[in-house]
Amino acid sequence: MLTTIKSELKSFEELARSFAVKELAANRKANDRYPFGPFFDSVIAKAYEVGLLGITLPEECGGIGQGMSALCIILDRISAVDASLSGIIFTNALAHEIMLSAGSKDVLKDIMERAAGAGSVLIAYPAFFNPQESPLKLEAEKTNGTYSLNGVIEYVVLGGLADHALLPARIQGQDGYAFFLVKRDNRQSNRRLSMSAPIFSLGMHACPAVDLTLAGVEGTLIGKEGLGARYFDHASDRMHAAVAAMQCGIMKGGFQEALSYSQERFQGGWEIINWSALRMLLADMAVQVKIADMAVSGAALAVEQQVPQWELFARAAALHLSELACKLTTDGIQILGGNGYMKDYGQEKRFRDAKQIQALMGLAPLRKLKLVNSMVKG
């Protein structure tokens, strides 16, 4: 990526690239069979060992303490091979960002210190949702300074894996919402927290999610009451750069596979790359990939350096690259013809994953509208 002009980031690119090649590439199809095949626990364990589950978490909390550029570089390289792991890294990082935004460094430090493996580090979070968009079905009841959570929260990513879940809930009698951290202990000991079977989704099958039903589960308030939207918006602004990076990686992977295939597949007496209409499709893809790389690098830099309107750069990059990635992956299948539609190749998964990622952090059209809202207000 362009961002690796900063030479200290090159090592992250190399780390992610080699991790993707060694741990993800060979089993892409098998890993994507989840929930109808086994989950890739060993890959998550290795991802934890090499530090992929705490990239932006400050060192004082037990993380790697890197900025948005490093996270973007890693997500880009991983997504080029298998975006499911990116989805896991992203969800966990989004939960970190919300908690950091709420000033909960101590809680994160505590989690990291007690960690005994990937499961105890990961924090589940409903990543495809902006709690402000739809009425929350999860309520918190406050009694003597403690909070008891009741209701349903859908599509909690990593809900079946992680020891902790960060959940938005409305506090009874109050406007707005707040975030609560729920521990797995509760789920095991008192059965007040029940979990659906893994949700079968369009894409990123190996980035699993469940619906949670809570009946009197104790939650730890994260930050202050009623300020959930503020924390979410801040974290979401930053993490839009990461969304852009995931889409960028998918685009690169899709382009590369199309480019290779078009130089090998014969039709009409020569390699299909020699047909100018097909070459035009590849050219469009090549342009989109380069634009994507620039957009991600720029967005990550804007977030890191807090340039004026940094959040608009990040959001614009995510929105635009999501549209581009959905288009590019459609053409990516097309270049492979019938083969592109089969699970033996990577293109159909990229097509599904790109559309899935477009839905992260809320409805895409509303996120687009918000871009203008913030400009008018600003």
Binding site: F36, P126, F128, F129, Q132, E133, S134, P135, E154, Y155, I199, F200, S201, L202, G203, F266, Q267, G268, G269, W270, N274, W275, S276, A277, L278, L281, C326, T330, I333, Q334, G337, G338, G340, Y341, M342, K343, D344, E348, F351, R352, K355, Q356, Q358, A359, G362, L363, A364, P365, L366, L369
Partner: protein, 502 residues
């Protein structure tokens, strides 16, 4: 260089858009009975969708993910009981004889519920078209009557069409390219028949069909003039099934690999053979083979446009329901103006998909088009109202005479001018591109409107997206169809145009 005068003359040639309103040309001559019959077909398909398809499609799709080898025998039996496999076979051949353009409306109807299931029904008609377009009336009569028999005795008799090969997809759809193709399916003439070797891939419903309309080549280097079409029965020695493809969508409808190893096919199962064709003043042998391929795709490509239109409609209906019952940002989604604009766009996409395939079918109904003869009023009404026994007892024996095949050949093959072929084939491609692009587009838009909810399998929206993508690929990729549109509707009247130069 083209002079300015020549440019002016080109601009007056095809496409003459005022001549392209096939509906206006066709409608006055069409039997009124077709309208009522089409409405009846749609209502019937809707009932099947509501009772059989919608209640089960998501469970079945899930099942195909749990077990990638799943084959939809139960659904085929149901479709067979309902009579879908004989519905569009002409009465002449023992079928129900619904008018053929109405099949597109039925396709749309079923596809709006599940395009995979629509394929489980309609891929059979791809096989029917492959057999019919050979104009081997005797063999067609035998096989189509087996289909009817299969409906009566509860043992579905389906037909698949096998053309795509591992090394040749686009190439085998286009006779101008086929001599440059890496073909592998050879037919060698031996006494009493042919020996076939090679394989075919991505053959929809291959595993489940009783008959396969197989296209093979007596000269792999010069296939444009050396093509044989066979009817091969499943179970024939030397014919077996290989891989069941693991597809992204349309999973209820399997895509099969067909393997032929020294498979002997007797002469009586040859549908058409380039060795016995004789070129005419209008068409060389290569052009006759090309006409055969185009006869098939003139029927099937508008149908794929209807598949796409059906998906576009299903995605639209799913999004509309969601928007009508989901609160977003303080009010119902459907009351956000941006959502209304998106729904309007999706509605429009369905309509233009439908208009396109309807117009392509009108093109097929004009003189020289494959539907024309059966839509002439006396023939249409005779077919519709003459007692079945007349076809079965009196007409059927005549179909076995060689002279009958020759008459059909004259009526359909010889009477289709090159211009008719251009019209029908060009519009078939147009309808295919429009409908399938609309299918993908609306599926994407539905997911954008539904966000997290749309991603879940049980909501059905994501399935539309997975299913829709295949439509842009089969029956010729949309890229090939664009070139076919250009060649047939634009380039054909411009002398300096060269096809397939890269």
């Amino acid at each position: 260089m083209v002079s300015s005068q020549e440019v002016r003359s080109i601009s007056k040639q095809e496409p003459r858009f005022d001549d392209s309103l096939f509906s206006l040309q066709a409608m006055p001559k069409l039997p009124k009975g077709m309208v009522k019959e089409t409405k009846k077909a749609i209502a019937f398909a809707r009932k099947f969708s509501d009772e059989v398809v919608r209640p089960h499609m998501l469970d079945v799709d899930r099942q195909t993910h749990e077990d990638p080898e799943y084959l939809p025998w139960d659904l085929i039996k149901k479709a067979n009981e309902w009579g879908f496999y004989t519905m569009f076979i002409p009465k002449l051949f023992g079928g129900q004889g619904f008018n053929m353009p109405s099949s597109a409306s039925v396709v749309e109807e079923l596809s709006s519920a599940c395009v995979g299931m629509a394929n489980v029904v309609f891929v059979h008609y791809l096989g029917v078209a492959g057999i019919l377009a050979s104009w081997n009336v005797s063999l067609a009569n035998k096989i189509f009557r087996e289909v009817t028999e299969g409906q009566k005795n509860g043992n579905p008799c389906l037909i698949s069409l096998a053309i795509t090969e591992p090394g040749a997809g686009t190439d085998v759809e286009e006779n101008a390219l086929i001599d440059r193709a890496r073909l592998g399916c050879s037919a060698k003439k031996v006494e009493g028949g042919y020996i076939v070797n090679g394989s075919k891939i991505f053959i929809s419903m291959g595993h489940l069909s009783t008959w396969c309309c197989l296209i093979a080549y007596t000269d792999l280097k010069k296939a444009s003039e050396n093509t044989v079409t066979f009817a091969v029965r499943t179970g024939t020695k030397g014919f077996s099934f290989g891989k069941h493809e693991d597809k992204m969508g349309q999973r209820v409808c399997p895509a099969s690999e067909l393997i032929f190893e020294d498979c002997f096919i007797p002469d009586e199962y040859v549908l058409s053979d380039s060795r016995t064709m004789s070129g005419s003043g209008t068409r060389s042998i290569a052009a006759l083979i090309e006409q055969y391929i185009h006869f098939v795709v003139e029927v099937t490509r508008p149908a794929v446009g209807a598949f796409g239109t059906g998906v576009a409609r299903g995605a639209y209906e799913t999004a509309l329901k969601f928007a009508s019952e989901t609160e977003v940002d303080g009010k119902l989604l459907i009351n956000h103006e941006w959502a209304q604009a998106m729904l309007a766009e999706m509605y429009k996409n369905v309509v233009i998909g439908r208009l396109s395939y309807t117009e392509a079918n009108y093109a097929n109904g004009l003189p020289g088009g494959i539907y024309n003869i059966l839509q002439r009023k006396p023939i249409y009404y005779y077919q519709k109202y003459a007692p079945k026994v007349i076809f079965d007892r009196l007409v059927s024996p005549f179909l076995n005479l060689k002279i009958t095949s020759r008459i059909f050949h004259k009526l359909f093959v010889d009477s289709q001018s090159i211009e008719d072929q251009h019209r029908c084939s060009g519009w078939a491609s147009l309808a295919k591109i429009v409908g399938t692009d609309m299918g993908v587009k609306n599926s994407q838009m539905a997911l954008e409107m539904m966000g997290q909810a749309g991603l879940r399998h049980e909501r059905g929206a994501e399935k539309f997206l997975r299913d829709s993508k295949l439509l842009q690929i089969y029956e010729g990729t949309n890229q090939l169809n664009r070139i076919n549109l250009f060649n047939n509707l634009i380039g054909c009247s411009i002398p300096q145009v060269r096809e397939f130069e890269g």
